[in-house]
Symmetry: C2
Subunit: 436 residues, 2 copies
């Protein structure tokens, strides 16, 4: 019966006889005695050999080979985890080539991003890199669990759509039998349609696609979108309240379940009461604040919520409110898609959430009146005849509603302090990269 | 404070003053008194008006309009749910056009599939149709929860891939900047890569794409694949055992959380001990059994696990083992992809799960030896130089492993007894249909 690395210390206290299996993470020849560090899904454990570690054919084991060993577990305060296995027999299940192109047990801080991504199937083996995706799995689990507890229904909508919800640019085209369709930029229309269909509260975890040509540390051409939409709201404030509760829960679950992973990255998450204190600031005030901070720091004026402004605003929020989380609302109509609900002639009931210097969420209340929709279209250069699905939706009885989306990789990256959002995607896609 | 339809009876026992909101599901003029059935996310509740129900402008309310009402909740054994609201005021939040193209409160059994799908944003409003997706949400939740409890990590992998894992046909092409990529048919390579990367146990819930031209009641061009992969297995039996536990848990959760939805469809799920009794039968025996049953029923011989054979085998399993679930293993090598682990010269460690007459799962152990992989490729007309990602994976230390995938829409459809798998997709895609 196999024992996981994390349970070897416990096994040592029992009978001591154990079988372990995993990857050869490190090999050290200390003269008379040889150490192998074995890696499995639960962590690392030290194996002790009285001679050179060889497999059943007498061949020396290589790094990253998959082996099973039998032996005696013993407590050893000097070993990682406080225990080790005195190996009695070794079987090699899969021999790794000795010339692997990537050093799995290396120091991540000394590896370049391109090297990490070019060797993705090896680099994920590095415990610190794998930790990113343990955190991400907990984010997705917590996002879903919190929303279910608030009576939201999980939906899965099509990613093959007849056109973009936010205009015609930045779309990938798909050859679909004898026609062309697009990859969905977001489930925007579908989540609104399902709220209006009586589900009232829906969420989706699914890929989203943007054919953006630029390569920045904050963009992915394919990302995991954590989407939320709810009916019977009054303004974006209802959504900001929902996101506060949601983020506080996600942070709490990450703190509880990913303590080891956070420690590897020397990271922490905000406490629930800090999330509660995150300020809400109007767009114009936010731009002015960021601009003033920039000027004070000797930089130029700022005229929009630029990446630089996002950093200034989180800095300000940290100083004034003790948390690097800030909600910016009242965005101008010209910066928001047609379906955004206006609060007056120029402003909208929409918001962004900025976390540790990066926008992680865009959201807002949506138009639910057919009349307002028809009046709005020309302002955005859109024609009613091309918007028949939206028109049908709004003519069929649609409650006041709104929603938001959290970029899963962005949230992961900001929790762990990753410099580039690509590090938080298992198999990131950019203009040059579609493999592996 | 809004009260949901399901809570009106309780509110009647309290103060009685309530506010309710939702969609106008039915309007009945009974002479002196008028009834409106209001629909919200929780169910239906009867509203009682002493005159014709009109909105705040005096306009009669229309079916599917979104309204809020204030009034007094009262117990009434004759009302659905045992309570009703004596309405004092009504506000219309969104007026539905009176000429909607689909009768939301109609009888689903009398609606054609094309009508239902052509009017998807209205047909989902029908409580019986919406019930399908309440069940589906629980299936996804239970699938994920069970696997997490067994130490599986949730993954999200790219759907834009450089080629198919199962050969070059049936792929949708995507215009990806200045090249072409494909939509993933399955996360096969990625889930194997992540098991081999040390995650050991992974699952994914994500869309999968097949460019199949035929239109059958069992195929979708885009479906939700519930994928599982695990390391350190010995044969497909380990996977069948895992799927038994998984299905028993999913069925149990659906029974517990979807009792009302199952009742609407006059459906039930197998008990856990019935799942335990589901037989495992080898491919050759299965084909012979189905063929004999066909001959006995006056039909022709059967030479493969055809849709007809799937029905016969489930019938046999019901008669002999008390459950319409059967695992067929030992598939011939020629019917399985190259990465399938052979058990002898002609057979493989692979299996299908058939449930209520339909294949819902394909799975098996995979090749984990580079040598076996290289020897296998020519047999499948594949060339090593085109398989460099797989080659790298198998040369880097890869444990024995295997997995399976459950078609989410198929499982949903078989639980509820839906005739066509498209009914279990919110926005199904087929050769002709990409809207809404």
């Amino acid at each position: 019966m196999r024992v996981l690395a994390k349970d070897i210390a416990r096994a040592a206290a029992d009978s001591g006889k154990v079988e372990a299996a995993g990857w050869v993470h490190r090999i050290r020849d200390m003269g008379g005695v040889n150490f192998v560090v074995l890696r499995d899904r639960s962590g690392l454990v030290q194996l002790v050999f009285n001679e050179k570690p060889v497999d059943e054919t007498g061949t020396p084991v290589t790094l990253e080979s998959v082996i099973t060993v039998k032996g005696k577990a013993a407590l050893n305060p000097k070993a990682p985890g406080g225990a080790e296995i005195q190996v009695e027999s070794l079987l090699c299940l899969s021999r790794a080539e000795p010339d692997l192109p990537f050093q799995v047990n290396g120091d991540v801080s000394k590896m370049g991003l391109e090297t990490i991504l070019d060797n993705r199937i090896l680099s994920i083996r590095n415990p610190k890199i794998r930790a990113i995706f343990s955190v991400q799995a907990v984010i997705i689990e917590a996002f879903s669990a919190y929303l279910r507890s608030k009576d939201f229904t999980e939906i899965k909508t099509s990613k093959l759509v007849w056109g973009g919800t936010e205009g015609g640019t930045e779309l990938f085209e798909v050859e679909y039998f004898d026609r062309k369709v697009c990859l969905a930029q977001s489930p925007q229309f579908y989540k609104e349609a399902l709220v209006a269909a009586g589900m009232e509260r829906v969420f989706e975890v699914a890929p989203a696609y943007r054919a953006e040509k630029h390569d920045t540390p904050r963009h992915l051409n394919e990302y995991v979108s954590l989407d939320v939409e709810m009916g019977f709201i009054e303004s974006e404030t209802d959504l900001i309240d929902l996101e506060r509760g949601l983020l506080a829960y996600i942070f709490g679950e990450v703190a509880r379940k990913n303590a080891a992973e956070l420690a590897m990255w020397n990271a922490s998450v905000p406490e629930a009461d800090a999330v509660e204190k995150a300020p809400v600031i109007g767009y114009e005030d936010a731009v002015k604040l960021a601009s003033d901070m920039s000027a004070k720091a000797g930089g130029g004026r700022i005229f929009d919520i630029t990446p630089e402004a996002e950093r200034f605003l989180c800095e300000w929020s940290m100083e004034r409110h003790g948390v690097q989380l800030v909600f910016v609302n009242e965005f101008p109509r010209r910066y928001r898609p047609f379906y955004t609900f206006p609060s007056d002639a120029n402003r909208t009931m929409s918001f962004d959430a900025l976390f540790r210097g990066l926008e992680i969420t865009t959201g807002g209340r949506r138009l639910h009146s057919y009349k307002a929709f028809v009046e709005t279209l020309p302002r955005f250069g859109l024609e009613l005849e091309n918007m028949q699905n939206y028109a049908a939706l709004l003519r069929s009885g649609c409650p006041p509603h709104g929603g938001f989306a959290i970029g899963c990789e962005r949230l992961t990256a900001r929790i762990l302090g990753l410099a580039n959002v690509k590090e938080a995607s298992l198999f990131p896609r950019d203009r040059k990269r579609v493999e592996p």
